[in-house]
Amino acid sequence: MTLTVDDLRVHYRTLRGEVRALDGVSFGLADGEILGLAGESGCGKTTLGKSLIRLDGRMRHAGGTVTLDGDELPLADDRAMNAYRFHKISLVPQYSMSALNPTRRVGRMIRELLASRGVSVDTDELRRRLDLVGLAPDVLDRYPIELSGGMKQRTVMVISTLLDPSVLVADEVTSALDVSNQQAVVGALTGLRDKGLVTSMIFVTHDLGLTSHIADSIMVMYAGKLAEKAPTTVLTTAPRHPYTRMLIGSLPQVGARYKDKPLSGIEGSPPSLLNPPAGCRFRDRCPLADARCAEEPPAVEVAPRHTVACWKAA
């Protein structure tokens, strides 16, 4: 296991109290595994990705542990985490434009970044890596504004993985791109893993269709908790959690027509995490809910590598 997350709780401090954005999530990430993290807005997927890198001022580590390559990450200690960031665990942010310094050419920015970490630049290696994600070496002589959205996203991917991290968190990296660029970026990410430049990866997205192409396994989250985690083919073909089923059911496939068969969304919205209701958090929107759901369902391994948190799934 590259990464083990055990009962991780991260809360946001607000004036009205603590928002329990991540409320007891446990999972493991195997060597070489790409884990897709899916769910609606506000389910805690971005909070999970962020808390592995850096807790910002509003976030509080409220419990649980994260173990990376045998070391427990000092999540609450911003300074101590610095030893792990970029070296061991790295991030590709959603908006690559805001991740690149607009006043520096890409090459100079990389040199400065590496110098700040006490590492010198191996230009040949850098070119090889740019080539791997399909970028020409002249990207290094350009300013970020001269690159397209897809090129910027791939440039950031190369920069994030320069020190061969164990875990790469890719947070919604494709949501601002169109389909052909999405395909290129996803191909580049898989390439980084296949060449061993990154050991494992967490791919955060709300697009289940795209996740199913890159991920080895998919974890669906709902209202700060794990709903279901399974190998990709199992999750997409035989999901057990009603939320996963409805999420997949609401995806229009190419060729699906309203006239033939209208798809249905999921009524209602996720509960407020300020004072989350007791019991199953999907209860109010779930067509199968009954009295038992007032009790919180534990995450149970119903089949090898297939975990579901639902009373109805067993």
Binding site: E40, S41, S148, G149, D178, V179, S180, N181, Q182, Q183, V186, H206, D207, L208, G209, L210, S212, H213, T233, T236, T237, M246, L247, I248, S250, L251, P252, Q253, V254, G255, A256, R257, Y258, P262, L263, S264, G265, I266, S269
Partner: protein, 299 residues
């Protein structure tokens, strides 16, 4: 009936406006009442520029753009008939005012003579039409509402004017998969009641879900258009095939786009006719397979 005939938009670009960029190049199509036409293209294909021209927010450089036979003339009369909804619902509201102020603004500008109770009835009806509970959304601030609710309120606002045509520019791209489909089903219902819709998107699966007819754009030019099922059931242009092959689908790996044997445009003998598109079958038009690299097909 919205009709575009060889509509072109050229922007000045470069230092001192010396250069020019053609964002939309001789685009022709039409959308009848009760019909949903989807405009599909990647970034930079000119799809949003077309939407802005239809709404009169950007003037047309050449060609004719008419609604029910009249040229687009921005003004109150025009906006009673044509309304638009855009991508980002969060930036369409003033955060310091309650969200339902968008309705009050419509009343002040377009229906100053309507009484309080009648107006409240109309607002409530429009809000129910977009399947929202008036008690839950009226009197709230934008930050208290979700993206799906805000987007539906904007559609309700457009409907208050009882328009005959709606331009929907990427209206679902900021929404979750579960609420996205609600907004799409809502559009389908409105369309069945006679509203013409121009649905602009980069997402093929969303476009095909609703549209009777599809226009595929690349670099400002139409590469293929016509009946949705003909265009995507039998794509003739290599670009349409590439686009279709790049869509991620659950349970099916990405495949290479099937190569095109012969350019349907030239094989159809349209090269000398002066037309930009060749009609290969009824309501299925295709451009030269080498577009945009083959140069102008007209002198």
């Amino acid at each position: 009936m919205l009709t575009l005939d060889r509509v072109t938009k050229t922007f000045r670009a470069g230092a001192f406006g010396g250069g020019s960029t053609t964002a939309v190049d001789r685009v022709s199509f039409s959308a009848a009442p009760g019909e949903l036409v989807s405009l599909i293209g990647e970034s930079g294909s000119g799809k949003s520029t077309i939407g802005r021209m239809v709404l009169g927010l950007t003037p047309v450089s050449s060609g004719s753009l008419t609604l029910d036979g009249e040229r687009v003339r921005p003004g109150k009369d025009f906006y009673r008939r044509v309304q638009g909804v855009f991508q980002d619902p969060f930036s369409c509201y003033n955060p310091v005012f309650k969200a339902d102020r968008v309705f009050a603004l419509v009343r002040r500008a377009y229906h100053p003579g309507v009484g309080d109770t009648e107006w409240a009835d109309r607002v409530e009806r429009a809000v129910r039409d977009v399947r929202l509970d008036p008690g839950q959304v009226l009197g709230r601030y934008p930050h208290q509402l979700s993206g799906g609710q805000l987007q539906r309120l904007l559609i309700a606002r457009a409907l208050l004017l009882d328009p005959r045509f709606l331009v929907a520019d990427e209206i679902t791209s900021m929404l979750d998969a579960s609420t996205r489909i609600d907004v799409l089903n809502l559009l389908a219902g409105l369309k069945d009641r006679g509203l013409g819709v121009l649905y602009i998107t980069h997402d093929l699966s969303l476009g095909t879900y609703l549209a009777e007819r599809t226009v595929v754009l690349r670099g400002g030019r139409v590469v293929e258009r016509g009946d949705t099922q003909k265009v995507f059931g039998n794509p003739l242009h290599p670009y349409t095939r590439t686009l279709l092959a790049a869509v991620p689908r659950i349970g099916r790996p990405w495949t290479e786009a099937a190569p095109v044997d012969a350019c349907a445009y030239h094989a159809g003998g349209a090269a000398g006719s002066g037309e930009d598109l060749h009609e290969t079958e009824p309501d299925h038009f295709v451009a030269c397979a080498h577009l945009p690299d083959c140069g102008r097909t007209r002198p």
